[in-house]
């Protein structure tokens, strides 16, 4: 096992001699996407005419199907088959694992008469056209015996219990420290249920080739999907070939497979034809996961100079009764500010609702909406500038575990952000700035998000035409994976980008963990880098051992790679010639990365500072973004253009969380109040005004050999809090119930007599 010290030596990526690392090259697959020729899962070519599936969903929260009749549907025009739990083909029992090494267990659909949440699949129709499938779905007759269900989070808080396998994190003695503090803040915040609302609904196209099933599905984790389907069908995983080449947004919601995958595979097997299955937009809300509601109590105790003595963040969050998931809204607070006495922890309320799960920056996204506003409240109490308060509480080592930081540029993010944003123009008195009918204010917040490296592999082939092709069972969900892997491979081998190909999203390729948790670029990229280094050694040895090479007999460790050549002194040979001589398939190598043995000896995060200026309409209570700016530090940046897109995309998610996005459970049915994009308000173009970000120079040599970290989730962290703080600065209204919609703002303005 390597240690981080092994990563410190200069390497082709850190030396970056051809300048591909960091370069703002266009997206590798961009041409396909702007011409509409990138096939998403529902769109792939099938070997013959496909059939279309339609899923029928449960309309109660909890209970039993007392009768279900699919006979009318089965007799409808064009219908090939109609299934309920009574006649669906056999699947393995829930959780079963044929192969103990599978990453996921069986997840059967239509498995029994039990209904565990609204929107669960209860029937499935397969027909010749989408119209016939959907019309027949309406002919399925279902009767239920509904049972009492726990549906409402806030009225069920007394049901909260410990999160399984977790204990509160305590440092020092919070209670004593808090009561001894000169100045305290104690407030409770609420972040509602939110939905991913990826633009592409989950979908699968499937067909069988003998006893093997080929599936194209929209999923962030290749192996997870392959294993889940294999276990559900009760077959070895090498009989499932899973592709996921283009994914229309994931954000965590496609970290797992859903019934579209299982039903497409089953229906293709039974019908002997290719099958396409997609969820409708309405079904997506309840058939897939969501971010749970979170209630957060924040207590801060400080002395009069603003130094924190005690801090606590206690979060209560919900999950589905039989699918435990914890939104770790308090975790980030363990590493952010110094305070000798600390308490953080989570409680869970189990409800009879659709499954909660990971959504972009799980934990930090809702969590920072509380603490980062509480810090502003403390700053105001003390008469301190919010940035100054944060700087006074900047820790020297990680306050949770006393580990050194690998690199931490949080203060620099705040200072540079303040300067570029014009923070000195902020009037600290709330409600002091007016622009016509608008109250105008500025706010800021910090951002922190952990960095991880997971084990991953990659394959690399160099062929006689001089092309290097990187293959990896990895995904690109819009994050830029294709592009950065091409840049890393090109720089490592000294090849121009037009000689590099990248192929992803195939379960036959060397495995990578997929896209999630902001670990994708560092993990997949490091595996690609190491594989490139294996290729360099292999090629150098080939040249040294081949009498036909001009480098014959030379020391392979001294050879270098540049401009498509392998070079030593004034002798060189093209990689193309070397690969051509190696055989018709060229040269193929595999390589991989694992976390360093001592990686956890450092506290490792990405950081940022968010700044927002808003207007609050004194007549309607509407909050409008006027401008937003962030400064971030996230290791070496592989592609400045794409990294910035990731960051600003995250910031816009923060705008949504602060101002518009929320869902609620309908207490009558256990359904979600909003089941479409007209009701669930993700930000639209007109909501986003003058939003920009910069990334600081950084290299984190404890992260991986390239010193890179993730950027996919950092941008959302703290973004909403900066807006809420700006709203307070604008009009003196402190709302702790997100999102800050006009009705709430208006009521608060009226309560202040404004």
């Amino acid at each position: 096992m390597s240690t981080v010290r092994d990563w410190a030596a200069p390497n082709p990526v850190t030396e970056n001699r051809s300048g591909l690392i960091g370069k703002s090259v266009d997206r590798y697959e961009g041409r396909l996407k702007v011409t509409g020729t990138a096939p998403y899962a529902f769109e792939v070519e099938t070997p013959s005419q496909p059939l279309y599936g339609h899923i029928v969903s449960a309309t109660i929260a909890r209970g039993r199907i007392t009768s279900i009749d699919v006979s009318q549907a089965a007799a409808a025009p064009g219908v090939v088959l109609a299934w309920s739990h009574l006649n669906v083909p056999t699947q393995a029992q829930r959780g079963a694992k044929l192969n103990p090494r599978s990453q996921r267990g069986s997840n059967p659909t239509l498995a029994s008469d039990r209904v565990e949440h609204y929107g669960q699949s209860v029937a499935f129709i397969l027909a010749d056209t989408p119209e016939n499938a959907r019309a027949a779905g309406g002919l399925v007759r279902v009767a239920y015996a509904a049972e009492d269900a726990d549906l409402d989070f806030l009225s069920s808080l007394d049901l909260a219990g410990p999160a399984p396998g977790e204990e509160d994190a305590r440092v020092g003695d919070f209670e004593a420290g808090y009561s001894a503090s000169e100045v305290t803040v104690d407030d409770t915040w609420f972040s509602p249920l939110q939905n991913h609302a990826q633009m592409e609904p989950c979908a699968t196209t499937a067909w069988w080739e003998g006893d093997k099933v080929v599936v194209h599905t929209s999923i962030q984790m290749v192996k997870g999907g392959q294993h889940a389907l294999a276990e559900t069908l009760g077959i070895p995983s090498d009989r499932v070939r899973l592709f996921t080449r283009y994914i229309g947004g994931g954000f965590g919601g496609k970290g797992q497979s859903y019934d579209d995958l299982t039903l497409a595979a089953l229906a293709a097997r039974e019908s002997g034809q290719p099958v396409r299955v997609a969820y409708t937009r309405q079904q997506m809300f309840q058939a897939t996961i969501h971010r749970p509601a979170v209630q957060m109590r924040v207590r801060l105790g400080a002395d009069r100079t603003g130094r924190l003595n005690a801090m606590a963040l206690e979060a209560v969050t919900h999950c589905a009764r039989n699918a435990p998931f914890v939104e770790h809204a308090a975790n980030f607070a363990r590493n952010l500010y110094a305070a000798p006495h600390r308490l953080t922890g989570h409680r869970l309320v189990r409800l009879d609702i659709p499954h909660a799960g990971a959504m972009r920056a799980p934990g930090e996204a809702p969590g920072m909406l509380s603490l980062e506003c509480a810090m502003d409240e403390l700053a105001e109490t003390l008469g301190l500038d919010p940035i100054e308060l944060r700087i006074r509480n900047e820790p020297e080592v990680d306050p949770d575990n006393a580990k050194p930081f690998s690199v931490r540029q949080l203060v620099r993010c705040m200072r540079e952000g303040a300067q570029q944003f014009g923070w000195d123009r902020r009037n600290p008195t709330p409600g002091a700035v007016r622009d016509g009918r608008w109250y105008v204010g500025m706010g800021m917040a910090t951002a922190i998000r952990g960095n991880f490296l997971l084990p991953a592999k990659a394959g690399l082939r160099l062929t006689g035409d001089g092309l290097a092709t990187l293959t990896q069972g990895m995904t690109d969900i819009g994050t830029g994976t294709y592009t950065i892997l091409a840049q890393i491979t090109g720089e490592t081998l000294g090849l121009p980008l037009d000689q590099v190909r990248v192929e992803l999203g195939d379960s036959d390729m060397p495995p990578a963990p997929g896209s999630g948790g902001q670990f994708g670029a560092a993990t997949a990229g490091s595996a690609a880098f190491e594989t490139g280094m294996v290729m360099r050694r292999r090629l150098a040895e080939l040249a040294a051992g081949d009498p036909r090479s001009p480098l014959y007999g030379e020391d392979p460790t001294l050879m270098d790679f540049a401009n498509g050549n392998i070079v030593l002194g004034n002798r060189s040979e093209s990689l193309a010639a070397l690969a051509a001589r190696a055989g018709p398939d060229g040269v193929y190598v595999e390589g991989g990365i694992s976390p360093a043995a001592d990686a956890r000896d450092w506290s490792q995060h990405t950081y940022g500072a968010q700044f927002a200026e808003v207007g609050v309409d004194s007549v309607t209570g509407e909050v409008r973004l006027r401008r937003m700016f962030g400064v971030f530090a996230a290791g070496r940046i592989l592609n400045a253009k794409l990294a910035k897109s990731q960051i600003t995309g995250g910031m816009i998610w923060g705008v949504g969380a602060a101002l518009t996005e929320s869902n609620a459970v309908d207490p009558r049915y256990g359904s979600f109040l909003h089941q479409d994009l007209g009701g669930y308000l993700a930000p639209v173009h007109a909501d986003i005004v003058n939003l920009d970000a910069v990334l600081l120079d950084e290299a984190d040599d404890k992260a991986n050999p390239m010193g890179i970290k993730g950027v996919g989730e950092l941008g959302i962290c703290g973004a909403g809090a900066a807006i809420a703080n700006a709203v307070y600065n604008a009009c003196g209204v402190r709302l702790r119930d997100y999102p800050l919609t006009p009705d709430k703002v208006m009521a608060a303005l009226e309560a202040k007599g404004l």
Binding site: D26, G249, G478, S645, V684
Partner: protein
């Protein structure tokens, strides 16, 4: 019903189910899958195409209503290998991430530029009688029917600007 729609300059005569949306006609009947289905309810804009030069949501319109119409989809914009200026602008400005909303955004931009050139005012146009200037507010307003959950809005704005410059 036999319905003939001219799609990207080619007549497509198809026997269609009257329930078939223009979107499903394009995607499932004539195999042009570049136009995306994000919601099927007119709420996202992923299915935006140009019908007789005007942008519409293809999911909100039945195929049989378009007999004899001229439809332009994302597949019809490029000239062989040469990208349409709007496509090139989206690529250069990185005005997308997952790419699923992108064909709709691009078709919407083509429609927007034509509307502005024709002097059609929008909700944010100050002077309804005068010529329309393509301010940032105009672009944001006119592109708000196209949701991008990846949230590439700043880059989309830049792409529309760049394309407008190229078109001028």
């Amino acid at each position: 019903m036999l319905t003939t729609i001219r799609v990207n300059g080619v007549d497509r005569a198809v026997e269609v189910d009257p329930r078939t949306s223009l979107l499903d006609f394009l995607r499932e009947r004539v195999g042009l899958k570049g136009t995306k289905k994000g919601c099927d309810h007119g709420q996202c804009g992923a299915c935006t195409v140009l019908v007789n030069g005007v942008r519409i949501n293809a999911c909100l319109s039945l195929a049989v209503m378009h007999d004899g119409d001229e439809v332009l989809t994302v597949e019809g914009l490029a000239d062989g290998e040469a990208l349409h200026p709007v496509q090139q602008a989206f690529l250069s400005e990185d005005a997308f991430q997952c790419g699923y909303c992108t064909p709709g955004q691009i078709c919407s931009t083509v429609g927007l530029l034509a509307e502005v050139a024709a002097g059609q005012p929008s909700e944010v146009t100050a002077d309804l009688a005068g010529p329309v200037t393509l301010s940032d507010a105009e672009i944001r307003e006119r592109m708000s029917g196209n949701i991008c959950r990846c949230s590439a809005y700043p880059q989309i704005l830049a792409a529309v600007r760049r394309a407008a410059g190229a078109a001028a």
